[in-house]
Amino acid sequence: MNQKNGKYFYWGFLLPCLLAISLVIVVPLLYGIYTSFTDSDGFNMTFIGLENYIRLFQDSQFTQSLWFTIRFAVVSVLGVNAIGLTLALLVTQKVGKTALFFRTAFFMPNLIGGIILGFIWQFIFVRAFQGVAQATGIEFFSGWLADSTTGFWALVLVFLWQMSGYIMIIYIAFLSNIPAELQEAAKVDGANSWQSFWRIKFPMLAPAFTISLFLTLANAFKVYDLNLALTNGAPFGSTEMVAMNIYNTAFFQYRQGFAQAKGIVFLLLVAAVSLTQVYLTRRKEVDL
């Protein structure tokens, strides 16, 4: 009974998840690959071969969104990791219970969804910045969401604010795993805190960099909620990121075949960037 029953249980245990993953991700993905070769508008579809993929790179709104997203991802990844690591170093200083309060504060934005954070910051940029501009007469603070350059930095700023606390948590986990004897030994050898950071902590943090870069890259590429609530692509689609461009093509213009082709290109891009990054940082980890 054992063998046969064992198989029975094995499949019984696996089935619900396999079914859900298949029906929610695998089947739609396969059907989506097919859709991307058609002119589907959601109701009718004819096979048109590679046409969507050729037209996609002539779609200036898409290429602009793509470029905007890539710039956003690069700036965000650098910023989030620099800020996250700095905050982690700050809150791991031995100053007692107060450090716990700092940690709580920095992590807080990460628990609140992009839609709500986006609206909060819409108020800050539209009203509070305006208030500062009026009070001080400094032009810099007015109309942040009305311009594509400041709109870009507004999105970056909110994303940094949201993600840095999360990445901080990861760095804290790795920092607290560094054996205290190592730092003691460095101190005895006369290293100052600057040296002890670069020579001891920094190399020991290599696996944390791999994880943090991976998480920030993936998250930065896929931003949608924040984009929707903060700028909704304004002015004139200039702050529209790829995820939003795909959504709008599919559900506002009803060009689902075309949108799906963008979705597939997006998948290839995200997968390629993530895998390359993991490969490169893993190799670096060995070197250090």
Binding site: N5, P16, V95, L111, G131, Y166, Q260, G263, F266
Partner: protein
């Protein structure tokens, strides 16, 4: 030496306080604004209200249909998590105890699936589920299971590897079947992982906007993020209502965070580092 340590400590505390208060300042501005009248929000955006009013809250509560959307969010989150915990822990158990080529293929497949962005599957997902009449709450819960499975299976699998198989065998000799072995013996040991899985999925599902907007976009079913989106579109000119509404959406999360902080921080750390 000790005076320099003292200096260092003071410096860290002052710097930390300044930074963390400015970090929370966006929330503080919204909180202060929610007690101001419409005209005061324009004349005094940044500071304490001069004539505080609580009038905004009942109006926002009513316009947001807050009780309804809160319950809708709670229902979707709780049921989804229940389903995710039950099925992903079972799947991970099967994979960890049956070391066949097929099991490792499934495991590898789960890793690959995690790279697929939502936007690459959302269009066919909506049209396929729509064609069989599943754009409803049950459909949404099933989709949440699909999107959460890979990560949850990974977390459980990692924990299961450190539970010795002799434990299973002992229970088996006592006459328990695999179902009983798992639920009576193994699952209770997985409690810390279960906490992690619950927290990570709760944060994601509670805050999710895009998926519910595609699947349950109907009056009466709105979750908080969905309701907030429509509410904000209508009331941006009435900032005092919008701010009170935002506070209503944030307060439950902050209260929960204060009480469960330890678990949340641990859960998020585990989720990020153990994958």
């Amino acid at each position: 030496m000790s005076s320099s340590t003292k200096w260092h400590k003071t410096l860290v505390i002052v710097l930390g306080l300044v930074l963390s208060v400015s970090w929370l300042y966006p929330f503080i501005i919204v909180l202060l604004g929610s007690f101001k009248t419409r005209s005061e929000i324009f004349t005094n955006t940044l500071f304490l209200p001069e004539e505080p009013t609580t009038e905004n809250y009942p109006r926002a509560y009513e316009n947001l249909d807050f009780a309804q959307s809160f319950l809708n969010s709670l229902f979707i989150t709780v049921v989804s998590i229940l389903v995710i915990v039950v099925f992903s822990s079972m799947a991970a158990y099967a994979l960890s105890r049956n070391k066949s080529k097929f099991s490792s293929a499934i495991y590898f497949f789960c890793a690959i699936i995690m790279l697929v962005p939502f936007q690459s599957v959302m269009i066919p997902l909506v049209s396929l589920f729509g064609s069989v009449g599943m754009l409803n709450r049950i459909g949404l819960i099933f989709m949440n299971l699909g999107f959460a499975s890979s990560m949850s299976i990974f977390l459980y699998y990692g924990a299961l590897r450190s539970i010795p198989q002799t434990l299973d065998e002992a229970a088996f000799l006592d006459g328990a079947n695999p179902f009983q072995i798992f639920w009576r013996v193994i699952f209770p040991i997985l409690k810390p992982t279960t906490v992690t899985v619950i927290i990570l999925n709760a944060i994601r599902i509670w805050n999710d906007y895009l998926l519910p907007s595609l699947v349950i976009n109907r009056d009466g079913m709105y979750t908080i993020p969905l309701q907030m989106y429509y509410f904000f579109g209508e009331y941006t000119i009435q900032w005092e209502l919008a701010l009170a509404g935002l506070m209503l959406a944030i307060i439950p999360i902050i209260i929960l965070y204060i009480f469960l902080q330890k678990y949340i921080v641990e859960g998020v750390t585990e989720g990020a580092t153990k994958q």
